[in-house]
Symmetry: C2
Subunit: 249 residues, 2 copies
């Protein structure tokens, strides 16, 4: 069975999409077959890969009951994308009214999941019915966080909600500190706080790196845009750590 990994955090702008794109791309380069589900109406995954808006997407799967296999878009070798769309904004209320409203995504993905080694779900910030579906469908949860007070504060709430939705915190695999700025005292202080509170869950930080924020404008992963950058080095290291954890090659 593949791992279904939700990349989530209520806090916005802390690196969820950047982590989804560059972890998925790192695994694909190692030969893993990857499905990325973009559960955020912003469609930032598609933009980050430089992929045109496809004819079919997640809305077609969840609302129009089209088969998943017909709604996938190849993003890179070894990476299929189930893209998001504007229509999902209106779909949230419709999904909420269904009796199985928490399992809609898990059920929809079931026919194709076994063709992949990893399924990554990029979540939007805040909590909505799509994010709830992502948590329900996930076997593993990865939580990026910026090293800022509001983001660190928000982890407690996220933990409460993961426990409420999944029954335990057991599926929370890693907390990935992002945008670590060695010149900034706050970064160091909050990284220490994070490690004191969450121990071995906390990975090495992803350093702040302007190349990571430039890459989406070129529709490239960090490995394509600047393979010798700190961003590429740090995300490759994270992929290695995840590979070991999930026993992949």
């Amino acid at each position: 069975m593949p791992r279904v990994i939700a990349i989530t955090n209520f806090k916005g702008g802390i690196g969820k999409t950047t982590t989804t794109v560059n972890v998925a791309a790192g695994f694909a380069l190692k030969g893993a077959r990857i499905l990325i589900v973009d559960a955020d109406v912003q469609s930032n995954v598609r933009i980050s890969f430089g992929v045109e808006e496809p004819r079919r997407n997640l809305y077609d799967v969840l609302i129009s009951n089209k088969p998943v296999a017909d709604c996938l878009t190849p993003a890179r070798p070894n990476i299929d994308l189930l893209a998001s769309s504007d229509d999902l904004v209106a779909a949230q209320s419709e999904i909420s009214r269904r009796p199985d409203w928490g399992r809609v995504l898990e059920t929809a993905l079931r026919p194709v999941v076994r063709h992949y080694d990893f399924v990554f779900i990029d979540c939007s910030a805040s909590m909505n019915v799509l994010n709830l579906n992502a948590l329900m469908a996930a076997s593993d949860i990865l939580v990026p966080t910026a090293l800022e007070h509001l983001a660190i504060e928000g982890l407690k709430q996220l933990g409460r909600n993961i426990s409420r939705i999944k029954g335990t915190m057991g599926s929370l695999r890693m907390i990935v500190p992002t945008m670590f700025d060695a010149r900034n005292r706050q970064s160091h202080v909050l990284l220490t706080t994070l490690r004191e509170t969450y121990g071995a869950l906390v990975t090495e930080p992803i350093r702040i790196n302007v190349r990571l924020s430039e890459a989406p404008a070129h529709g490239k992963t960090i490995y394509e845009y600047d393979p010798r950058s700190n961003g590429a080095t740090d995300y490759a290291a994270l992929v290695e750590k995840l590979s070991v954890m999930f026993g992949f090659k």
Copy 2:
């Protein structure tokens, strides 16, 4: 009638809460009577003001039908806060099932709105039923945006959704560039792009300023934490521009 101002953007982490807190505080210092509604489950407004979790909040108003006047918390002189809560996560689906699901917030606020000069609604990132309610209730919309590709890209989608929900873009008053970093070429390039696309809607940028990211940890507004900082200067200037626009003193 007071102005009801939704501070919103699908993109996360681009300065919605920072703008809500420091614009509201700037107006309160000028003697305006302010209500802040925190429509984001993260409760970042409460944290930023250093206010304890109150007994009653927005959940009590929307779901338990408690009168708004009984659910307000004084945050500062001239500032009342209708705080958010964890329970709002579960409330979204419940609200979605109501026939008047888009007008629930507007209806709930009606009894108290006339006691204030301004009502500010801090929205979460992404789109959910609470954010939809905030847009429906708002007479004016203020959109902060970071000067990054994904955030600027997202403005087009936000504009489409504002038109869809409000019928026109007429209530969009300002786009406020945040985290402007003069040392970073991308900041300059994207600020120019923003001005070319949205013209006079775009205000002077809020400069990147570590004091703004430190202030929430102390539960202080930027004027309290570091009144001589760039952050305090830039937000005070924004308050002046809004005062002129809304004809306040």
